[in-house]
């Protein structure tokens, strides 16, 4: 894979009066609860290492209090870390001065917030151009690009409405349009869809995926919802109590949960909808493939499971786009994976 767009190295964040001193305790193995009880400091993040690749969707998942919102705010430095490094395109974000940081935020990143964070005294259009407006870009240019995104998120005709006049889902569309109008490479989404009704949430996820297909931004997406994480994420990082438990592609996390916490998390997931054939195939190694059923490597299990059940083949042969055999999968292994 290409060089990581965003590199987070050894990141620590401790909230309290004397974080540097408290960090020593953390390095010596003091946990979150003990740190709070004995030293009166709150552990935000501990030793986070994460490489986020360009044009991919990186999900950071965890329950409330796990530090996921703290982590995303380090990328555009809304929160100062206690220790560690965050680089974007090779530039150290934590060493930027006020001016550099401002221009970094203006040109490279855009953020979508859980509770929308729109300005109530500005109309939909004025909110959407906010990022450009504060860069003193001419009203005409700003409006032109804003109107395009307003249309793209399906809000045409609402340009002159105020946020209070819109439903939650529509407000978040404004939030998304505002972020896209800013045209940075990096889209930071902090539980962007968590406050929405399930149906509207699904709509917004679809809009995001559709846009991502076209725009190829580097998206960092925070959520507490595993289904959402699996649907959106190219890779998923799981945080617990400020510590990163596991990071990997969705199938890897489902098939090989490293800790009990991750295991509990993924237990009830419908694997057939998340795991692709290529994730579970073995190498061919002279295996006899006569009578094996051909399967596309990018198909999810639930796309071909019905056919497997009705035809009852012993083996499946996994093929790439050009119908070249790339691996095989025994029906027995498949059923084990689904049962586990």
């Amino acid at each position: 894979m290409s060089e990581a767009k965003i590199q987070i190295k050894n990141l620590y964040k401790i909230f309290g009066k004397n974080p540097k001193a408290a960090m020593e305790h953390v390095k010596n193995g003091v946990g979150k609860d003990e740190l709070l009880e004995k030293h009166n400091h709150v552990l935000g993040l501990k030793e986070i290492n994460l490489n986020i690749h360009a044009q991919s969707v990186q999900v950071v998942m965890g329950l409330s209090g796990s530090g996921k919102s703290t982590l995303i705010r380090h990328i555009n430095r809304l929160i100062e870390p206690t220790d560690g490094s965050v680089t974007v395109d090779g530039d150290e974000v934590l060493k930027m001065n006020e001016e550099e940081l401002r221009s970094f935020r203006r040109s490279k990143t855009a953020m979508v917030f859980q509770r929308f964070a729109l300005l109530p005294h500005k109309t939909v259009l004025q909110n959407t151009i906010f990022g450009l407006h504060i860069q003193n870009i001419s009203e005409e240019d700003a409006n032109k690009s804003a109107l395009r995104w307003i249309e793209r998120v399906g809000l045409s005709g609402y340009e002159d409405k105020y946020p209070q006049h819109l439903s939650g889902g529509m407000q978040q569309r404004v939030g998304l349009a505002r972020a896209l109008t800013n045209d940075g490479d990096i889209l930071l989404m902090d539980e962007a869809f968590s406050a929405l009704d399930p149906l509207i949430r699904k709509d917004m996820q679809d809009i995001l995926l559709e846009l991502q297909d076209e725009l190829h931004k580097t998206v960092v997406f925070i959520t507490h919802d595993l289904d959402e994480a699996l649907k959106i994420g190219d890779r998923i990082a799981i945080l617990k109590d400020g510590i990163m438990d596991q990071e990997g592609i969705p199938a890897e996390i489902l098939l090989n949960p490293k800790t009990k916490y991750v295991k509990d998390f993924v237990e009830d997931v419908n694997r057939a909808r998340v795991i692709k054939a290529k994730h579970i195939m073995s190498e061919i190694n002279g295996q006899d493939l006569s009578g094996a059923m051909p399967i596309d490597q990018d198909d999810f299990i639930d796309r071909f499971i019905d056919k497997v059940i009705s035809d009852k083949p012993d083996n499946l042969v996994i093929q790439d786009k050009d119908k070249k055999n790339v691996g095989f999968l025994s029906t027995q292994k498949l059923s084990e994976i689904l049962k586990r």
Binding site: R105, T109, F116, A117, P120, F130, G131, Y162, Q164, H165
Partner: protein, 296 residues
């Protein structure tokens, strides 16, 4: 020793007398030394006040009425309020209180302008630093609880009797709510909206003008409204040190037991207060149009 428990160990009479004399004398010296300078400093303010007063009194009453009713309608968009204002000022004019009312409006106008010019930046400064807040808050407490008569004494010693000392007394009395509510309004601005402004790379100034002040505006407006009301309440007391207007006849009525006169001028103050209050409040609500309305 038994005295120690029955009587408080107080400062001896002689020393206390010396102490009072000493403080008085040094303040008098200060007043003599600096009085003229401070007078001169406030000269532009005096000019503004006199200008307002002269203009208002010189304006023919029908023109004043038209302008006032126009402003009332522009501020409130309410015909009811316009009619009420008209009747109120007919009452004032018919009962021979027109000129005094104009003087009072002039001093209210000047003191509210002065309060906003001083109060708004002070409130903003307070909202930006907890340290400033912890210094300014006790000063505001003193300003609000100290009986106005007490701070009239040093003001009069320094500047004599007249319009400016009266104006200063009114501002001291009326400015605290504006400062407090500006501070409160800005501090209560939604943290996420501020974070969003930060995330999009807004400067401090952009945050102030595009996020904090607009979102705090309803609260700031409540502060300005309070300031107007308190300035009107102070007009009577300020008339004791030479502020012309509706306060002086009330004061006369108290000394001479003129019941009807007192009530009439008292009512005139109430009328001016109610008109100012209703118009400024409905203006405050009207500029918040984005807060009303239903979800589409």
């Amino acid at each position: 020793m038994s005295n120690f428990f029955t009587e408080f160990p107080e400062m001896p009479n002689k020393q206390f007398r010396e102490f009072k004399k000493g403080v008085d004398a040094s303040y008098k010296d200060f007043a003599r030394e600096w009085g003229d300078f401070i007078d001169a400093m406030f000269d532009p303010l005096l000019k503004m006040l006199v200008f307002f007063e002269k203009t208002l009194i010189a304006t023919p009453w029908p023109i004043f009425m038209i302008v006032l009713l126009g402003l009332t309608y522009w501020g409130s968009r309410s015909i009811k309020l316009v009619i009420g204002t008209f009747l109120a000022f007919v009452f004032i004019g018919y009962f021979r209180m027109w000129d005094e009312t104009m003087s009072t409006i002039a001093i209210i106008l000047t003191s509210v302008i002065m309060s906003v010019v001083i109060g708004l930046p002070t409130g903003i400064a307070m909202s930006r630093s907890d340290r400033t807040q912890s210094i300014v808050t006790p000063i505001l407490d003193v300003m609000q609880t100290m009986p106005p008569f007490v701070y009239l004494i040093p003001i009069v010693m320094l500047m004599g009797i007249g319009k400016i000392p009266g104006l200063i007394a009114v501002v001291i009395y009326a400015i605290p709510p504006l400062i407090r509510l500006t501070n409160l309004g800005i501090r209560e601005v939604d943290k996420e909206a501020l974070e969003a402004a930060d995330a999009f790379g807004a400067t401090k100034k952009q945050k102030l003008y595009q996020v904090q002040l607009p979102l705090a505006l309803p609260t700031i407006f409540a502060g300005i409204n309070q300031t107007i009301m308190m300035a009107l309440a102070m007009v009577i007391i300020a008339s004791m040190i030479g502020v012309k207007g509706l306060g002086q006849p009330v004061l006369q009525s108290i000394y001479n037991q003129y019941f009807t006169k007192g009530v009439l001028y008292g009512l005139a103050i109430v009328i001016v207060a109610i008109v100012f209050d209703r118009v400024s409040q409905s203006y405050g609500q009207r500029i918040q149009k984005h807060r009303s309305g239903k979800i589409v």
